[in-house]
C-alpha cells in the first residue's frame, strides 16, 4: 500500500512542478510586469529600479532557480502591487471561494447522482428524458452564459436576487446555482450511463434470480459497482472546483481566489499568479489521490493490484 501511494505521490509532485514551471515561463514571456505596474509613461529609471528590486533583470533561469529555492524554504514571494506576502494575499480570499465551491459541490453530488440513478432506473421514461435534456443543456452551456441567463431572469427581470458583490448570503445564490447546475448535469450523465452499464450485467440478473427485491438489487448490488466509474468524475470535479470558480467569480464580482487570479494575470502580479496556480495544481493532484484511495476501497481488484505491487 505504501509503495503504491509512494509512487502516486511522486507522480503527483512531478505534475505540480511541471504546471508551475510552465506558468512561470509563460508569464514572463507574455508581458513585462514593470511596465504594467509602473504605467507606460513612467520614467525609464523608475522602471529599471523596479526590475532590479524584483530580480526581473536577471536571466529567466536564474529567476526560476531563485523562485524554486524560495518555495522550498516556504517563501512564495511578495505581491508586486502592495508588497504583501502572497500567501496571506491568497489565503484571505480562500474562505470566499470555499463559500461558493463547497455548496456548489454538494449540489453537484446531491442532485447529479440521484438524478442519474433515477434516470437509469426509469430508462426512457418522461423523467429520464427530462433529466437527459437538462444534463445535455447543462453540459453544453458554458458557465458564463448560464450565469448571464440567471442574472437576466432573477436579477434583471424578477429582481429577486442581486447580480454582483458579496454583501449577504443572497449574493451567493446565483454563483452557487451556476456552478451547481453545470456540475450536476455532468455528474447526472455519467452516473446514468455507469448505472445502465451495471444494470445490464449478469450479476444483477443473478441477484434477482436469488430472490432479492428490486430495491435490494439496486442498493446492495448495483450502486457500489456504478460508484467506481462515477468516483473518477467526482474526483475531476473536486479538483476543478477552484479553477471553475475563476469564471463565475468574475461574472458575479465575487472577491474570491478566482477573481484574484484574473486580476493578477492582467496586472502581471507574477508571485500571486504563481501561488494561485500552485494551489490549484495541488488541489487537483490531491483530488486525484483521494480518488485513488476511494478506488481501493470500492474495487477489490484494485486491492489485489496493490497487494501485488507491494509484494
Amino acid at each position: 500500500m505504501l509503495h503504491y501511494f509512494g509512487s502516486r505521490l511522486l507522480r503527483a509532485i512531478v505534475s505540480v512542478v511541471m504546471v508551475v514551471t510552465f506558468v512561470f515561463i509563460v508569464l514572463r514571456l507574455s508581458g513585462d510586469p514593470a511596465i504594467v505596474i509602473m504605467g507606460a509613461d513612467a520614467p525609464p529609471e523608475a522602471v529599471d529600479a523596479f526590475r532590479t528590486s524584483w530580480g526581473l533583470d536577471q536571466p529567466i533561469w536564474v529567476q526560476y532557480l531563485t523562485f524554486f529555492k524560495a518555495i522550498f524554504s516556504g517563501d512564495l514571494g511578495q505581491s508586486m502591487r502592495d508588497g504583501r506576502d502572497v500567501v496571506s494575499v491568497v489565503l484571505e480570499r480562500v474562505p470566499s471561494t470555499l463559500a461558493l465551491t463547497v455548496p456548489a459541490f454538494l449540489l453537484n453530488v446531491g442532485i447529479g447522482i440521484p438524478a442519474g440513478v433515477y434516470a437509469a432506473l426509469h430508462r426512457n421514461s418522461a423523467i429520464d428524458r427530462f433529466v437527459m435534456v437538462m444534463a445535455v443543456t447543462g453540459f453544453a452551456m458554458p458557465s458564463f452564459i448560464l450565469a448571464m441567463l440567471l442574472v437576466l431572469v432573477f436579477s434583471v427581470s424578477l429582481g429577486w436576487l442581486p447580480s454582483a458583490g458579496q454583501d449577504s448570503w443572497r449574493h451567493a445564490i446565483l454563483p452557487i446555482a451556476t456552478m451547481g447546475f453545470g456540475g450536476a448535469a455532468l455528474l447526472a450523465r455519467f452516473t446514468r450511463s455507469a448505472m445502465l452499464e451495471v444494470l445490464g450485467q449478469s450479476y444483477i440478473r443473478t441477484a434477482s434470480a436469488k430472490g432479492l427485491s428490486w430495491s435490494a438489487v439496486v442498493w446492495r448490488h448495483a450502486l457500489q459497482n456504478a460508484a467506481i466509474p462515477t468516483v473518477t468524475i467526482i474526483g475531476f470535479m473536486l479538483g476543478g472546483l477552484v479553477a471553475g470558480a475563476v469564471v463565475v467569480e468574475s461574472v458575479f464580482s465575487w472577491p474570491g481566489v478566482g477573481r484574484l487570479l484574473v486580476v493578477s494575470v492582467a496586472n502581471r502580479d507574477l508571485a500571486v499568479v504563481q501561488a494561485i496556480v500552485l494551489m490549484i495544481a495541488i488541489t487537483m493532484v490531491a483530488a486525484n489521490l483521494v480518488v485513488d484511495v476511494l478506488y481501493g476501497l470500492l474495487d477489490p481488484k484494485m486491492q489485489l493490484q496493490t497487494r501485488q505491487a507491494r509484494g
Partner: protein, 328 residues
C-alpha cells in the same frame, strides 16, 4: 400434477417473437434437458417463467408452479420463489457473481432471504455449502472475491448459492459452456451428485446434446422459439423424429465406433422478425416437401412420451429414408 407446467408461453421483444408458444412440464425431481442453438429461446423460457426478463418483453401464456400461476404474478409472489423453490445458475460464472462482494457474503445473502439465517449460523452453513460443492479450504475461501477464483470454482460458488435456498428445481443455463472441457465434466458430476443427495429437480439448458444426454432422462429440443421434439433421452438418440434433432445428432462426434464425417446443418436460424410461413426449419431441411412451407406443424405424438412437430414425423413411414439421407 407436474411441478412446473408451462403452457403456450410466448415472449416477444417489440414485434420480434422470441418464443412462439412453448408447452413443457417438469416433474418433481426430474432431470430435463433443453437443447438448441443459441438464440432459440432456451434461456428466455426460464427467465420469463421467473419474471426475470426486462419490462420491454411481452410474456403470454401460462406457467404454473404446483398449480399457482406465475405469469403476471406480483413481485411479492415471485421473489420468495426465485432461489427458494426454483434457483437458476448462468453461463459465465465470473460475470454472474458480483465483483465487489466476497463470495461468502453473496451466498449468505441467499441464506438470509430463504432460510432466515444470520451471523455465525449463516457462516457455518456457507462453509458447509462450499464444502458440498467441492471448494477446498472453504473456511478461508469464503472471504475471496470472484476475481480471485477460477471459472470452475466460481461456477461451484454459483451452485452453492443456488443450493442455499434449498430449491426444488435448479435451472442450469449453459453451466459448463464457459469452462474448460476437463472442468465441464466435474461440474456435471457435481450436479449429478447433488441431485442424488437432495432429490432436487434439474433443467439443464445446453447447446450440446452430448452434455445433456449424460445428465438428463428426458430431452426437449428447441428451434426458433418452439419445442420441435421431446422424448426420453435414450429414445431421442435411437429414434430421432424431427430432422433438426437428427441434424444435431449427426453433428456430434461419435465417442466410440467407426470415425465418420460430421454432418453440419446448412443455413442459419431465421431471424425472429422474419419467420418463414409454415415450418421454421423448412428452409434448412433436406426433407422439405411443398406442404412444409404452407403448414406450421403442431406438436404431435410419435409414440406415447415422444412428441415431434414435423408433418413428416409419422412413425415408420418416413423414418428409414430420412435416416439414410441425413446420415449419408
Amino acid at each position: 400434477m407436474a411441478f412446473v407446467q408451462i403452457r403456450d408461453m410466448t415472449v416477444a421483444f417489440g414485434t420480434a417473437p422470441a418464443l412462439r408458444g412453448i408447452s413443457l412440464s417438469v416433474e418433481r425431481g426430474e432431470a430435463l434437458g433443453l437443447v438448441g442453438e443459441s438464440g432459440c429461446g432456451k434461456s428466455i423460457t426460464w427467465l420469463a417463467a421467473l419474471g426475470l426478463l426486462p419490462k420491454s418483453a411481452k410474456v403470454g401464456g401460462s406457467v404454473r408452479l404446483d398449480g399457482a400461476e406465475l405469469i403476471g404474478a406480483t413481485p411479492a409472489v415471485l421473489e420468495p420463489l426465485r432461489g427458494g423453490r426454483i434457483a437458476m445458475i448462468f453461463q459465465d460464472p465470473a460475470s454472474s457473481l458480483n465483483p465487489v462482494h466476497r463470495i461468502g457474503r453473496q451466498i449468505a445473502e441467499a441464506l438470509a432471504l430463504h432460510r432466515g439465517m444470520k451471523g455465525a449460523r449463516a457462516r457455518a452453513e456457507v462453509i458447509r455449502l462450499l464444502d458440498q460443492v467441492g471448494i477446498p479450504d472453504a473456511r478461508n475461501r469464503l472471504n475471496a472475491y470472484p476475481h480471485e477464483l477460477s471459472g470452475g470454482q466460481n461456477q461451484r460458488v454459483m451452485i452453492a448459492m443456488a443450493l442455499a435456498g434449498e430449491p426444488e428445481l435448479l435451472v442450469a443455463d449453459e453451466p459448463t459452456t464457459a469452462l474448460d472441457v476437463t472442468i465441464q465434466a466435474q461440474i456435471l458430476d457435481l450436479l449429478g451428485t447433488i441431485r442424488r443427495d437432495t432429490g432436487m429437480g434439474l433443467v439443464l439448458i445446453s447447446h450440446d446434446l452430448g452434455v445433456v444426454s449424460e445428465t438428463c432422462s428426458r430431452i426437449a429440443v428447441m428451434y426458433a422459439g418452439r419445442i420441435v421434439e421431446e422424448a426420453p433421452s435414450d429414445r431421442i438418440f435411437a429414434y430421432p423424429s424431427h430432422p433438426y434433432t437428427r441434424g444435431l445428432i449427426g453433428a456430434m462426434p461419435p465417442i466410440s465406433g467407426l470415425r465418420r464425417k460430421l454432418v453440419s446443418i446448412p443455413g442459419s436460424v431465421p431471424e425472429a422478425s422474419r419467420m418463414p410461413l409454415g415450418c421454421a426449419f423448412a428452409p434448412r431441411c433436406s426433407l422439405v416437401i411443398p406442404d412444409c412451407t404452407r403448414i406450421d406443424p403442431a406438436a404431435g405424438a410419435v409414440e406415447p412420451g415422444h412428441v415431434a412437430a414435423c408433418i413428416r414425423a409419422t412413425p415408420a413411414a418416413v423414418r428409414a429414408p430420412i435416416m439414410e439421407s441425413v446420415m449419408a
